[in-house]
């Protein structure tokens, strides 16, 4: 999902950066100091969890877990994702300083919107509705992120059209895997600690 340094054009970098700053300003104002500890620890948890390799045949992908993060943290997922991106840029060189803003916007906005929009479904007592909500939470967040990154790439020049299309296509299997695994993770988490998704008292402990 990361777009490396040196690829995007100046207008795309600028608008991505401006969007990221806007999102950060809003979400940081919304997040109280008291919650900063748990947001930080959970961000680290999501970061480590997203490094897990999921096998598909001989190759493997890794999860993004953006939708789940949005459902668990709400708007606080935005700074959490930003911090994870910054650490990746600093420690692993994925993305970079100038493309940081664009990358934050690409992952952050879909995560927060999918999480907030689908949270009511996750809280549903019906097993079916909850599973559907969880599936789309994972599926749509990756879909929107892939669409945004393809758009950013395509907007950087006509030469990138085929690469953008390829990037999006390559993410289609990831969407399904992310959706399916989000369903299983949500079911597990709701049985063990419903508070994590802010859904205390909504479980019926179905098997």
């Amino acid at each position: 999902m990361h777009i490396s340094e040196g690829v995007l054009s100046a207008p795309v970098l600028l608008s991505g950066g401006a969007l990221a700053v806007l999102g950060l300003a809003y979400s940081l104002r919304k997040m109280p100091w008291q919650h900063i500890m748990s947001v930080g620890v959970l961000a680290a948890g999501f970061f480590v969890a997203s490094l897990a390799h999921i096998p598909i045949g001989p190759s493997s992908v890794h999860l993004i877990l953006g939708g789940l993060m949005g459902a668990a943290l709400g708007w606080a997922a935005f700074p959490a994702i930003s911090v994870a991106m910054f650490l990746q840029a600093l420690l692993l060189q994925f993305g970079g300083l100038t493309s940081l803003g664009a990358n934050i916007s690409i992952v952050g906005y879909p995560a927060v919107f999918c999480g907030l929009a689908l949270r009511p479904f996750l809280a549903s007592a019906s097993f079916k509705i909850r599973n559907l909500g969880a599936f789309f939470c994972g599926f749509l967040s990756v879909l929107f992120s892939a669409a945004l990154s393809a758009t950013a790439l395509a907007a950087s020049g006509a030469d990138f059209f085929s690469s953008a299309w390829m990037l999006f296509t390559a993410h289609v299997p990831v969407m399904f895997i992310e959706g399916l695994l989000t369903v299983a993770i949500v079911n597990f988490v709701i049985r063990v600690t419903p508070d994590l998704l802010g859904l205390a008292g909504t479980t019926r402990y179905e098997v």
């Binding site: 930080g40 948890g45 988490v189």
Partner: protein, 305 residues
Amino acid sequence: MRFETPFSDAQGGSGGFGGPDGKGRANSPDCMDPASVIPATRKLLSAFIFSICVSLLGNIAAACAACLVSLLLILLFRLPWRRLLKILLPVNFFFLFLWIMLPLSIFAPGSGQEPGFASGQAVLLFNLGPFYFYQSGLLLAALITLKGNAIAAMLLALAGTSGISENCRALRRLHVPEKLVMLLLITHSNLGLLAQEAKVIRQAAKLRGFTPRTSPSGYRTLAWLVGLLLVRAWQRAKRVEEAMLLRGFNGRFPLLHLDGAKDIPATGVAGGTGGDSFANRRGDLLLAGLALCSLLILFGDLVIL
């Protein structure tokens, strides 16, 4: 499932090459190490200016010059080559994808839609059935690879040589909001712990005969392992939050004002520039030199174009 993290081996330490507060090479008696003498604020600012200038380049010669500047700094800071290449290798996978995708086109030369038709310089290299490879795409891929590697190497040389706490303090001085810097600090300090936790979970699953497979039951078990990690993180988060609340944490660590002591801000920065004047002078030199180099390259790029 493999939780491959670069953090499990450097718990709580800094990434990159380890700074003065990590366990990297800066613990050696050689205190005059040029990389650690320069304040992190200036290094971070220099890296940022360099990144912006280089990412705007549109000419291969200018991008080569940028690479040269990065290389020079790496030589000056005496960074370990092996580590550097190991970190830069995964960065280049994305560029490899561009090397394949950018020259590729389904339009034949002379069809009016091939790349570079407008400028009249569509040079066909070869074709494989219906796929045509053009020179312009190859040149663009080369340009992007050079730019990306120059920026990544510069960031490694500048930000990777100071520890995370130094970098956080530098970010505070650059007026990044305190909440964000605090979040960065907490997240980083918990990464090592949670990577350890992930290792334990993975080992427990392995002991019970689990091997990750592409099957419904394999995916379900993987999801449970990931879920377990999230639950552990949540429990830790709750414990830490309660402990901090108990100590009156409110963005600051409150002290009893007995002898005029002030509360300690969370990120440990009260203001001021810090660092001795010698280090500052060196940092200024670096900042000025790099800014000049970047601007020269950018200027050269514009003139050549």
